[in-house]
Amino acid sequence: MLPDLGYVLLTAALAVSLYGVVVPHLGVVRNNWNLVRSAQFATIVNFVLVAGASAVLMHAFLADDFSVRFVWEHSSSDLPLFYKISAFWGGMEGSLLFWDFVLAAFSAVVAYGYQRNNREVIPYVIATLNVVHVFLLSLLVTYSNPLATQSPVPVEGRGLNPLLQHPAMAMHPPMLYLGYIAFSVPFAFAIASLIRGKLDNAWVVSTRRWTLAAWFALTVGLMLGGQWAYEELGWGGYWGWDPVENAALMPWLTGTAFLHSVLLQEKRNMMKVWNMVLIIVTFGLSIMGTFIVRSGVLNSVHAFAQSNVGPAFLVFLAFAMLVAFTLMFKRIRLLESRHTADSLVSRESAFLLNNLLLIGICFTVFLGTVFPLLAEAIGGTKLSIQAPFFNTIVGPLGIGLLFLIGIGTLIAWRHSTWDYLVRNFRVPVILGLLTSGVLFALGIHHPGALIVFGGAVFTGYILGSDFYKAVRARASQMEIGFAEAIVGTVRRNQQRWGGMLIHFGVVFLIVGVSGNWFHQEYNLTLTENRPVTVGSYKLLFKGQRTEKKLNATLHEAVIEVYRDGELVDTLKPARSFYPTQPEPLTEVAIHRTVREDLYLVLASENQGGTVTIRALINPLVMVAWFAFPLFTLGTAIAIFYKPRRLEEPVTEDRLGYI
């Protein structure tokens, strides 16, 4: 009964979104603002309808209503409540509904929030967002219906894939979706601006916060995905260059490039065509990400996410890209700006180089991801591209970015003189070299690591001293205390100092990732009460134990970890058995310190009471996670800055024509 109601709501939402595509255009053509208003209203109604359908599905999960096929496939009555909720996006149909729900929420915010400004473009913003709705909803009411029912009703569900029963996995897909979807707002503004030929910087400024929010959500989504892989998959790393990981990384890379290059448009009126290309490509890569995850055309650890919506996504992707680029080329004359960088030695150049590096990384990742497909389509050979390919190319480019953050912070706009460079870069360069030298003397001879650690100090010093100087200037100027000056400085330019925190986060991230160069791996067979040395730790196996945890049964190996003769931790790597799964999963155990993680995987329980474990020492992993709070705080500060208001006089009578 309820599921049918939900299906009716989805069908109604599809009708309303079709209305939302057509009517704004009519409003513009007939110069009738009331029509545009009605489309804005329809967008809000659409949200209510989709939210209703989502509530129906959520209710089915919570009530263990296995008459709904999707619930039967992805849940079971013994599933903990938390995972019953997250099972909503544990499969294709539910994810699509979740996607449309978030898009509907964002569209409603746009429809409601931009009633009085951006009037020239808003009709087509609404229309563009509704085109995406029409696509998603037509999938949802046809062959990807999450509310489809079945009869007879099974008594028990098939259960959620145990790999997905992890807190990070509950949050990782929704965050990625939030990111992908938030990028559709700047995309919709860009398309609307192209349609109307209103190609000043309004669309960039109006959507700046959306861009930031999208960037943040994608970043969090990626980091949570890494956390999940690290703790759940048990191979010892957090990033494996899997096609699905790459698919999520690519829009992040172009989105990051976009976030930087729009600043050039905002401040220097440059790069208008480039920004248009970046936002279109970012949107395209978001759709392509979903396509790669869901279509199964590439081999991936995410095989559980496959379904039959691949062709539909591919058609939509090609359609969206063709329309967007055609519009762009139609308006190319309005976009071409006369401004170029004044000098090679300037902050403009640093931004350009930053964009080149990010796009270079993106291109590398893209090539590595789709190359197996290309090779098979053309040469008919099966091959796979492994981590070394990515690491060899992306590594140096990433290190380039590390230095560029520092350089871009310090170098002047327009033109920097040689004197200026020497004066300002002397100290950080010396400090950086000193760091590398000291580390070399201490016995670290890995060239990459020496460059990264030196670069981290170089950039870290620049970021810190930049802020310190600004605070000190304010303190002396306003004659106030230092703490007060910090608050005042940040509030005066939230965009800049929020950005600084995020840049600090990137420095931590790169340093943390570089710890990978020093990773060690051991395979050990442990006998009870016989200590074994791993790096600077001593492991003492105390015996096996069976424990119940939520819906799983764990076979644990209890291992005491000693360091310098002291007990620092008791780790329990385990194999977990789920009632719905024939084979056990590994549950890793990690002893975390800032310096390194000790990471234990229970490989097998042997006859005679011994256990075989894989022990990994992963240096600096915690340092990489430390980027997370910095990203959060930085984004929170930056996002609440007020863009220069784009007050437009409310002109009821003139809408203009296409």
Binding site: L314, A318, T326, P582
Partner: protein, 182 residues
């Protein structure tokens, strides 16, 4: 716009990428051709589940055989269980002509026996040892996988996933024919 080469370049890139992705449909990226095909079958030594009769690769010299890896807990194995039995009844009655062999992996003897009983299997069934030596030597990704080995002991075909009637119809007569070839 239509005269701009950049526009057409972009259109070409979009078209090319779309075609490339579309070419991926209908291919399973996991289906990597086994390096074992067209090579001699790796040796094995097993004992029958119920009777304890031994069987090894050497003892099969000159006889083509179908080697199926299965497990009682595997869902796809249920789909093919009766197909294999009927193939055995149709082609495998003369043990010098064709042998049908099933090896259960990561399984217990009881569960494997119960599975065989449930699906009425009468052909030769064995259990891989705890270390999984046979499945390792045959480079198994999972179950079910089925190897078609000709009279000279060369693997002629490998099926990943449940066998279909078409595959059996096509492969088995070829194996039997391999006996007459010099």
């Amino acid at each position: 716009m239509l005269k701009s080469w950049k526009f057409w370049a972009v259109v070409a890139v979009i078209g090319g990428l779309t075609a490339m992705f579309a070419s991926g449909f209908g291919h399973d990226p996991k289906l990597v051709p086994s390096p074992l095909v067209h090579r001699p079958a790796p040796g094995f030594k097993v004992t029958e589940l119920n009777t304890g009769a031994p069987l090894s690769l050497e003892s099969l010299k000159g006889t083509p055989f179908v080697l199926n890896f299965f497990a009682s807990w595997c869902v796809a194995c249920r789909d093919e269980a009766r197909l294999l039995e009927s193939a055995y009844l149709r082609w495998g009655q003369d043990p010098s002509k064709l042998r049908v062999i099933g090896i259960a992996i990561q399984d217990t003897p009881e569960a494997a026996r119960a599975f065989a009983k449930r699906y009425g299997k009468t052909y030769y069934l064995a259990l891989d040892d705890a270390a999984g030596d046979v499945s390792l030597n045959y480079g198994l990704y999972g179950v079910p996988e089925t190897f078609f080995v000709d009279a000279k002991g060369i693997i002629r075909y490998k099926q990943i996933g449940a066998v279909t009637p078409e595959v059996l119809e096509e492969q088995i007569p070829k194996l039997i024919a391999s006996r007459e070839q010099p």
